[in-house]
Symmetry: D2
Subunit: 383 residues, 4 copies
Amino acid sequence: MADTRIRLGMVGGGEGAFIGAVHRIAARLDDAYVLVAGALSASPEKAKRSAEAIGLAPERSYPDFRMMARAEAARADRIEAVSIVTPNHMHAAIAEAFLETGVHIICDKPLAATLEEARRLRDKARASGLIFATTYNYSGYPLIRHGRAMVRGGELGTIRIVQVEYPQDWLAAPIETTGQKQAEWRTDPARAGAGGCIGDIGTHAYQLAHFVTGMAPEQILAEVTTFVPGRRLDDNVQILLRYANGARGALWASQVAPGNDNGLRLRVFGEKGGLEWSQEEPNRLLWSPLGEAPRLVRRGTAVMNADGQRINRIPSGHPEGYLEAFATIYTEVAAAIVARRTGAPIDPAVTFPSVEDGFAGVAMVDAALRSNAAGGIWVVPER
Amino acid sequence: MADTRIRLGMVGGGEGAFIGAVHRIAARLDDAYVLVAGALSASPEKAKRSAEAIGLAPERSYPDFRMMARAEAARADRIEAVSIVTPNHMHAAIAEAFLETGVHIICDKPLAATLEEARRLRDKARASGLIFATTYNYSGYPLIRHGRAMVRGGELGTIRIVQVEYPQDWLAAPIETTGQKQAEWRTDPARAGAGGCIGDIGTHAYQLAHFVTGMAPEQILAEVTTFVPGRRLDDNVQILLRYANGARGALWASQVAPGNDNGLRLRVFGEKGGLEWSQEEPNRLLWSPLGEAPRLVRRGTAVMNADGQRINRIPSGHPEGYLEAFATIYTEVAAAIVARRTGAPIDPAVTFPSVEDGFAGVAMVDAALRSNAAGGIWVVPER
Amino acid sequence: MADTRIRLGMVGGGEGAFIGAVHRIAARLDDAYVLVAGALSASPEKAKRSAEAIGLAPERSYPDFRMMARAEAARADRIEAVSIVTPNHMHAAIAEAFLETGVHIICDKPLAATLEEARRLRDKARASGLIFATTYNYSGYPLIRHGRAMVRGGELGTIRIVQVEYPQDWLAAPIETTGQKQAEWRTDPARAGAGGCIGDIGTHAYQLAHFVTGMAPEQILAEVTTFVPGRRLDDNVQILLRYANGARGALWASQVAPGNDNGLRLRVFGEKGGLEWSQEEPNRLLWSPLGEAPRLVRRGTAVMNADGQRINRIPSGHPEGYLEAFATIYTEVAAAIVARRTGAPIDPAVTFPSVEDGFAGVAMVDAALRSNAAGGIWVVPER
Amino acid sequence: MADTRIRLGMVGGGEGAFIGAVHRIAARLDDAYVLVAGALSASPEKAKRSAEAIGLAPERSYPDFRMMARAEAARADRIEAVSIVTPNHMHAAIAEAFLETGVHIICDKPLAATLEEARRLRDKARASGLIFATTYNYSGYPLIRHGRAMVRGGELGTIRIVQVEYPQDWLAAPIETTGQKQAEWRTDPARAGAGGCIGDIGTHAYQLAHFVTGMAPEQILAEVTTFVPGRRLDDNVQILLRYANGARGALWASQVAPGNDNGLRLRVFGEKGGLEWSQEEPNRLLWSPLGEAPRLVRRGTAVMNADGQRINRIPSGHPEGYLEAFATIYTEVAAAIVARRTGAPIDPAVTFPSVEDGFAGVAMVDAALRSNAAGGIWVVPER
């Protein structure tokens, strides 16, 4: 029987990378993709070794992404989509190369290292008509979808307050000086871009708040701080947010807050109720209708709404986690790509963060750094 | 046998008041005070009724605080201390009247309705040599003392980040228009002062952060918001904090956040570890030494340090709460008053928020309102 | 004005005791009692010192409970009620002495050290017409009352399963050999009776389950174990429970379970819903209506039913704890005693554990020990 | 490049099945297997449709497991292992058929519907020398491995108490009468065997306690109950456990406890410390060394021991869940199978539940039913 899975390529994600392996599991989990080609490392030797380790055919393991784009374009069984999982500064060039050869893009966040790159890439993606997903993976949790549908359906009334935070502690000491690869590139402006913590995780928090509420702030004000001596990028950021409808928000992201592993947490308060969700316990959502007892909405139960059920895999009480949510992004993108194969319309329920969301994240980093550089003033993010 | 308990008076706290009854239980819990006089209401009839209800001798139930101050001063068995539990705008005048007759003061927070009053009162209190406590009652929890000793003893290293929040939801709807007494005066500028939520609970959050860390911010920037239509004072505030040592902080207080009862929560992060404490679960403190497993420090266990043990009453697992912590403030003040009876030095371990802390809270409100009025700029709190 | 508070005496509770101080605070908290007499220790010298420390008049500090009963009976201002807070083996003799002089009784649990004593005491108490409370203090939590009213009102449907547990860890090592007074008498059959852990805390768990469900087991089967070498009484017990309606239950109590302070926890499941409550977080009750999202019922909120509200003191989010619940037992008893002063009927809402509950606890211990001695068989508790 | 993945077959798991899809994701997640053949349903038409849906080659979709065993045995590219995911009563016959053709077995639990079948299957598996795994999937959580290593390494001292529970609520109403397929076969003695709740989830709880402690009970006593009218198998069970070293245990499993989704929870207490783990929050383990503050051991942090690290996939704070743990069972089995390909020794660190564990579960069900049938007596499980 013909294998109808989507033929996927990958750039980056070789030995020692964390996020590459995550993308591969995510692509595989629902059996919608088959990984057939890659340029897994900028070092040709490492690229080769990495390809062997994951079972890529040698002739489709490329030493370089441009060569890969060209060579794949010439094959009958060429890749239909590519996952870009390199450090941030490479995203734009790689994505552009594949957009030019008609390949759909699944790009890690932040979209690009500079606002200019991000804008150019967004414009090219728009013009191409291709699918472009930015892997803001936290959008893939069923209860996030449930909460989003509640907010958008008016169940909380007009939104007044958004509190989002994302504390970690893994950079509380200067581990980038000890050879830790993840820490090295994330604290290096040449590879990470101008934002450190704010780009790496602040953008996740910002996107999640937007994803759930549908509201983008009109103005922001940021305190961007570097606590660890010698570090070249920020490791803590506090941002105030002003929304068009008068709502107010606060965002805190930190990589120097001991006791926090990956503490992304969103709270949204409207005139009729509140929602609270924490990424580390993603299988429950606290819903507090004003004047009533707060309710524990559990993933997979009958009280989960259609938006949550749509992407739910297993029964309640059987915890789904990070990989499942990440896989959902891939599976949503697959639905869109499969529709494109035949020109069929994409099911409107299919939902994933796009290049526009990717751009908005980079624009937030840009605005926050401008606010901070001016001593802490209110600024307007670029659109 | 002679009753050696401190003779206490009370101003405010009559029928329908919440905090007056709390102060009375707090004074009684450790048996260090006996309530003997009061001017419990501005309405003479209500004052009389209230005095009867709590068993005050009729001749020591006064229709007016000035009369009370004079009459008590003339008695051999006159009150030694007075609890002031009226709406905020009365605090200063009452406290001054009793300071003038040599009575120690236990005053509810915020200290005063305006910065000018607060400053004048602080100066008078300083000059008087009398004991002056401001009932920032959350300072009375054993694990807050434990955490404070840890921070001050350097166990967290240099403090980098302070996140404090105090969400409630009881004012999410305009209940001040329905005759709810507590809501009425707290949203009335004439009685509450210029701060609503920020004065009522923002000051608690601000004081707690200062109490534990020992650090007062050099600059603050505030978003002060009123969400409920028609409300005359703020019901939500977000504040950024800059400390002298480079530390950064954020404070959020809200009375319109559905699902939150009394969610005061403090997180402090230093270079060597973090602390997290929540008022609604006050019998445990999460301590996260960097690189180790977080530890649940439970009130009353052998791992609680001497500062915590000193004010602990009952064994671990037997939850202490709000009234106990409030009582501890009273009992600490009692130790100071008993020392003053004989001119003995006050045990240096005795700790309670003073008129200086009361002033700092009012100065924070003043600074936040200035920041907000100027469109959200950094300002320096008055000292 | 005349002091209308109830005149209270105390037997036991001198220096070094834990529970005596708790009873005194509990009696004082709502200002319904005044402690005027005591026989605080079996050692006359210690009795005297203890009486001075808490401000008893010297002439009403007695070296011996029988002398106290006689002397008080002869006074015009004699005590109306007595708190019995000695080791278990003394309860019955003391209670009988005061019943004979017409004094209401507030007796610590377990009621007596043997079933025979308990039965005799119960019969005398019944015959006396006096108020007799056994301080199963966990009955005093507002949310326990809320849950009890739910169960009794049929909101859970027919009850099917009762799971109650009470783990502690303070006896995990043989601290009774180190001079720890609390451990010494609680592990001494001569003072504690035939039950160790089962009598000390197993009875609490058993009473709480009964209090909430209104169901007493028809049969029980027990594994009663002593883990610490050299210990003379049990330190762990597991009991299965069979109820008349076919419901099934399990009770676990332990004093050797590291990590548990005072982990009393009750779960009740009916055909229409479940309830879960934990004493260490007493301000919330989890209510799970079948097929709906579980709800966090918080003490003091508007969703708390009348039975909970009736004994609630302060607003939600301001945690009440162990002392408050204990005080509620005292305050309920006070309402009954005040009614008796005039012969008025006792408000039917007034609720406190009686001598019958005390007897049921001792009967459970007796049955469990019989079951265990026979190798683990089903037995019927005495009535 | 040659595909070195293990060629896997599946019996059961067609349309409408829950656990089949879970097994397929589990096999795929770490890319160690490729599913190439199946007899997915007893209905040939449904088997065909199901095979198409998951992309099996038509010629390797069989209408019947015996035909599959024979046909596969004849192929050069025959399956190396088979997953058995049918209702319980089919497990033994299927497993035996594949053992006879030299195929490694991955069998769902409980191993068989009767003790006799289980014993015969165990004996055949022993004799075959083939790999035989029983998917007690909860053994696949990293923190369960961490805890197991702690217990076995003596970090808790001699184990005294084991409390394990597994409440669910999905069968609280008679949904088997409404056409719910999962409920139908699980409450049907012909397909599930003599145990309902006890076989379905009681065996999981029993295995987990054994897996972590290494201790198998010498005697058990069970209350086996059916609460839902008309139901033919038990839906609630309470079991007491006696261990050889004097330790005592209790096991509770229920499918009629409202508010519980999949509440498997294990607590183990030794003389030096306690452990607590809950399947619904599997990324943390509470470790309470006696006399110290309890510690939150978080999956993926540096404090996790080698046994936990060995099967850990992603960093701490990125929650892993049910599918990941299930996949770990598959991946462990894969390591054993790969070793067998070449006759290499299996890495001693490789750990998965075997046919012995499967037998022990069935023996527990048998013993519990004997105990219950005799009115609740102590019995010895078969070995």
